[in-house]
Amino acid sequence: MKLLVKFNLIYILVMAIGVGVSAYITRNLLVKNAQDEVVNNARMLVSKANAVRGYTSGQIQKLLETQMKYEFLPQSVPSYSAMEVLGSLLKDYPDFFYKEATLNPTNPRDRAVGWEVDVVNQFRSNAELKEVVGQRETPTGASLYLARPLRITNPACLQCHSSVEAAPKTMVDKYGPANGFGWNLNEVIGAQVVSVPFALPLKRAEQSFTVFIGSLVGVFVVVGIMLNIMIWFVVVRPVTKLSELADRVSQGDLNAPEFPSAGNDEIGVLSQSFNRMRTSVVQAMKMLES
């Protein structure tokens, strides 16, 4: 088997092991990074929602107080504002989904369902719990979610959510007397939930992984080609020429030229040795003939 073939076989084996190990380590890292990035984006969404809620309750509500005596305006409700703003924002990010899942909401749209109830109950049973990140299976695949508790800390909220009698009449006209009452101060009444299909971070990780491994393999291939060329010029060609000269001398061709040796590397030393050996053989042959 030729030297280059042996070299390439060894090189390919080493490359495969190297790429394989890199792929394993890199993939896990990329999946985790993508997951972290998605979770951080979800945190930012929740913070955005809270900023809108605060703006609504701090600045907008009092401006609409008089109007509310004549017509209930959902724009005065922090939850409505948050849902509207994020709904509009997430049109550009359709993979994300935001909901203020509430156990006893005024608007049935916000009612917590199934697993959301479990998340809310986690917050209700543990006052120290500030955030939950988890995965769940859905009919369309795995889903990653981030949830934070919705706790009533502002007594002003109870104006609309304590009892039917205390609530604005226009609000009761619009939503009825059955929903969204009986809330208490410091009670967790729901959770802000951001959901994203798990396929999203996986897709991002996959994209990064493909680019990385592709680049790595490409670099290995280019390096391999260059090594092959270098070995051909530096080792294989001079050794082949040296071999031809040795054959000629061994067959009695005393006129075979010296091998031009350059450099002090191993090929250079070999060629010097060959030339000395050739000179000795030629002298010996000439002595025998004379």
Binding site: T66, Y70, K169
Partner: protein, 296 residues
């Protein structure tokens, strides 16, 4: 002779009435002039022979008539004591009407002949409230919205409690409204108090009444505003007032609009409808009221 004595007697009674009104006016504290602070849409101010276009910063003397159009959004009048009256579309009201008795130390700030008004007092100062043909809203410190129309009159206690008196009901006791309650009456029928306005009533409230607007007296009180004059009020435009079921106001009109009576068209209309407003006869035909002995 009897006719002569009757003429002397009626003259004497009129003098006594005038003196009584003067005494009444002197008994009441001088009222601050209203100041126009917001004008959204068309509105005019009728001050005797002069009609002005309502503009922000215009100071209003007593007894001027404010008229708004169908598309008027809001006209606001503020008083120096912080009380406010907002007027809606299709409204005819008199600002600081004289001749009405004080209630709780305050004379009415507005006579609402027809249309929409939203009035507000302050925490420390009661609004003068309004008088209308059928209602006398007593001074209050909260906020009310009211509509006076031929077929319906209603008053909504948006903030704070208030009382009103039904003027056309003999010996009527004041009707009390708690915050959020509404008093309604259809035409001349008996009024009733409900816990809140009907959806139809709330739907009709002018949009301009639904926002809480800041006071602008401080910014406008020192502004010198040159009144922009409009065409003098015609008989047709003034007719509702001339025929209003309000003797206190109608007594003053011949004096206040005497200059208009010199206009031939206006005078002709007055003469034609004299039967509907006989108080104008003395101005239009003074010769009929000369003593028999006076030269004619």
């Amino acid at each position: 002779m009897l006719q002569f004595d009757g003429a002397i007697g009626s003259l004497g009674l009129r003098r006594i009435g005038a003196l009584a009104a003067l005494a009444l006016a002197m008994a009441m504290p001088a009222r601050a002039a209203g100041l126009v602070t917001i004008v959204e849409g068309e509105a005019t101010i009728v001050d005797g022979a002069r009609t002005m276009i309502a503009s922000e910063g215009l100071k209003l003397p007593d007894d001027v008539i404010l008229r708004t159009g169908a598309r008027t959004g809001l006209v606001r009048v503020e008083w120096a004591d912080g009380t406010v009256a907002d007027f809606g579309p299709d409204t005819q009201a008199m600002i600081n009407p004289t001749g009405f008795a004080a209630r709780g130390g305050r004379a009415p700030s507005v006579y609402l002949l027809r249309g929409w008004v939203k009035q507000a007092g302050t925490a420390s100062t009661a609004s003068g409230a309004f008088v209308s043909p059928r209602l006398d809203l007593l001074p209050f410190k909260g906020t009310i919205v009211a509509q006076v129309a031929a077929d319906e009159t209603w008053v909504f206690a948006e903030n704070g409690a208030l009382q009103l008196v039904e003027r056309d009901v003999k010996a009527a006791a004041p009707v009390a409204l708690k915050p959020g309650e509404v008093y309604s009456r259809a035409g001349a029928a008996k009024g009733a108090v409900a816990p809140r306005p009907t959806p139809a009533q709330m739907q009709k409230v002018p949009r301009g009444f639904r926002d809480t607007l800041p006071l602008r007296t401080a910014a406008l009180k020192d502004r010198q505003v040159e009144p922009r004059l409009a065409a003098p009020v015609s008989y047709g435009e003034l007719r509702e007032w001339l025929l209003a079921p309000e003797p206190t106001l109608r007594r003053q009109f011949p004096r206040r609009f005497a200059a208009r009576a010199r206009d031939n068209t206006f005078r002709a209309a007055l003469v034609e409808q004299l039967g509907s407003h006989p108080e104008w006869e003395r101005l239009l035909f003074p010769e009929r009221f000369l003593p028999p002995s006076a030269p004619r």
